[in-house]
């Protein structure tokens, strides 16, 4: 009896003491120069990338400003993340996969208009693209987009309706026809054929990777460039990356969420955080994680990965902008809808 009483005592006192200690030390730091907590809301594959960047930024900021920054991360499907911010998740900055997602937050008034021009290179510290992952030795000889629609090729790519990876792959396939002088009808024919050879439409990028790698379905996987290299590295020789001659310029953009940083008084740290991503130090980290640095000199330094032969086309070459491309090609009643016929 007395023993159990003692146990109860220690169970309650330990956390209390710990909390007290944390409280005291936090107060101490606050007096010495302050402590800031930032929340970075990002998309799925960027977990390891931002963990690296955060550690480097925190060290630098503490040295320069004497302020300790504690950065929290949130990851998920890009537009799911955008909806969380719209619905009240306290993000200080967003680092989402697509303009569409960041701009949806702007439409709710949480990010100020003109956010794209607030940071260098249209608020893109890095860019990315879509490449092919094939089985070892490339048995089906897939080198370029037209190879995908040859008979007997099965393509793995997520559902463009539910996945960023999905619609960006669709745009890339579409652009590969248009940018080579194809007509709209030829592009429609190409994507129709391509999607008829997609056996499974996974709902997200990671699901598609599982289908291709673990379940061994399909001959080629249309993947984010950074994911493709990770996938191949983990497959230990069972897969390889094929870089087509042309693909899309994907533009993950970063933004400060104005409404939240003003409320939380974290604007200085949040802005410094995003500016940091353009420094040489951060640009090297992007390259290390297979994201294309926006700094040309550093991009060139990593030519062994980001080979110069790949032409990246901007979304504006196939539509007015991202929303227009999505509406025409993916949205309700679009080209994508016309591919599938009731049967």
């Amino acid at each position: 009896m007395s023993k159990s009483k003692r146990t109860t005592f220690s169970i309650f006192t330990l956390p209390a003491l710990a909390a007290l200690a944390v409280g005291l030390s936090a107060a101490g730091i606050a007096r010495a120069g302050g402590e800031v907590t930032l929340l970075n809301v990002s998309y799925d594959p960027t977990r390891e990338l931002w963990r690296d960047l955060n550690a480097n930024f925190a060290a630098r900021y503490e040295k320069e400003k004497g302020v300790k920054v504690n950065i929290k991360q949130s990851h998920g499907g890009s537009s799911t993340q955008a909806r969380s911010v719209i619905d009240g998740l306290d993000a200080d900055v967003t680092t989402l996969a697509s303009f569409l997602d960041t701009d949806a937050i702007r439409k709710k008034g949480l990010i100020k208009a003109g956010w794209v021009e607030r940071l260098p290179n249209k608020s893109r510290p890095y860019v990315s693209t879509i490449v092919f992952v094939v089985r070892k030795g490339n048995p089906k000889g897939i080198k370029d987009w037209p190879d995908l629609v040859k008979p007997g090729i099965a393509i793995v790519t997520p559902n463009p309706k539910t996945s960023g990876n999905g619609y960006i792959s669709f745009f890339a396939a579409w652009g590969s026809v248009i940018l080579r002088g194809g007509t709209r009808q030829q592009a429609i024919d190409f994507v129709t054929k391509l999607y008829q050879q997609v056996p499974v439409l996974d709902s997200g990028a990671r699901g598609a990777t599982t289908t291709f790698v673990q379940k061994k379905i399909g001959d080629v996987h249309l993947a984010w460039e950074n994911e493709a290299y990770l996938e191949v590295r983990e497959a230990k020789g069972a897969l390889e990356v094929v870089v087509p001659p042309i693909s899309i310029l994907a533009e993950p953009q970063v933004a400060v969420v104005d409404a939240n940083v003003d409320k939380k008084k974290t604007r200085d740290a949040a802005e410094a955080y995003l500016k940091f991503t353009y420094t040489d130090e951060a640009q090297e980290i992007f390259a290390k994680h297979f994201y294309r640095p926006s700094n040309d000199a550093i991009l060139k330094k990593h030519q062994d990965i980001f080979k110069p032969g790949l032409k990246l086309f901007a979304i504006t070459e196939i539509a007015k902008d991202w929303p227009d491309a999505h509406k025409q090609l993916i949205g309700d009643g679009s080209v994508f809808d016309s591919i599938y016929k009731p049967r």
Binding site: S79, R83, K161, T162, L201, D202, K215, Y340, P342
Partner: protein, 275 residues
């Protein structure tokens, strides 16, 4: 006179009713009303356009069809399993009994991933089944399979207590009166079990309609073929079209509610019939 009519046998009626109404409102009614209000922000034309396309109808048919087939299978399997667990003694019975609840505890996405991995051409089961023409992954059959999995506990758990209360003496009486085994089952056991079976069926069916996590991994999500209605909701959310997404949810809710009401009526009728 009227006072005594209003009095209940047990005290605390108004208090418990108050709690019940409060919890039901907070947990069920308010979210559902919010759904209807959100869907109500659409004009009739937009609403109709969102919920009644060829593709959406195909998805509703698949969602309700697969859930119904799976619930029927669960009805038969569940009765059998419940019967074995109650009536027979055998080693490992406890273990099997606790296995029944596992589908409820396992995150359904895990269930879906495991099922699809097993039944694909290179999977443990698929390498034998696919050559025989049995495609358990990325087909409608696969959807029914996972819905049977997630709905399994419901019929078992509703039938079990009734079976436990059903004294074997009734069956013996039936037999001694000259009834065949089938007659005993049909006239003695089945009528007693009927309400529990209907309840279990309704629970398994409702679970199947709402299931998303496991189905997305097994179905392959091909429009018109293996695309369930919840996928359409997610697709609309990705476009930040909250109104349209909720509209589809409302249609699902209304159809489900109507079906559950019918099932409840059937259950009542069967209880009354028994009395």
């Amino acid at each position: 006179m009227s006072r005594s009519l209003n009095r209940r046998v047990l005290p605390g009626f108004s208090l418990t009713l108050g709690y019940t109404v409060f919890y039901l409102s907070v947990l069920v009614l308010i979210p559902i009303v919010a759904c209807f209000i959100k869907a109500g922000t659409l004009s009739f034309h937009d609403f109709w356009h969102a919920v009644w396309t060829e593709r959406a109808r195909a998805a509703y048919r698949l969602t309700f069809g697969a859930a119904a087939i799976a619930a029927v299978i669960n009805l038969i399997l569940g009765l059998l399993l419940g019967w074995v667990l109650v009536r027979y003694k055998f080693p490992g019975k406890r273990l099997i009994d606790s296995l029944v609840d596992l589908p409820l505890a396992l995150p359904t996405a895990v269930g879906g991933l495991v099922y699809s991995s097993l039944y694909v051409e290179q999977g443990w089961l698929g390498r034998f089944l696919v050559p025989l023409g049995i495609q358990g992954a990325y087909t409608r059959f696969g959807i029914v399979l996972v819905l049977v999995f997630v709905g399994l506990p419901f019929v078992v758990r509703t039938v079990q207590p009734v079976l436990e209360d059903l004294d074997p003496e009734y069956e013996e009486a039936g037999a001694s009166l000259g009834g065949t085994r089938w007659q005993t089952f049909k006239n003695v056991i089945f009528p007693t079990l009927k309400p529990a079976l209907i309840t279990g069926f309704a629970l398994a069916f409702a679970r199947g309609i709402g299931e998303y996590g496991s189905v997305v991994f097994v179905s392959g999500n091909m429009p018109y073929k293996t695309e369930i209605a919840p996928i359409l909701i997610v697709a609309r959310l990705e476009e930040f079209a909250y109104g349209e997404a909720t509209a589809i949810a409302v249609v699902l809710l209304v159809i489900s509610f109507a079906m559950l009401v019918v099932i409840n009526l059937l259950e009542r009728a069967s209880v009354r019939h028994e009395r």
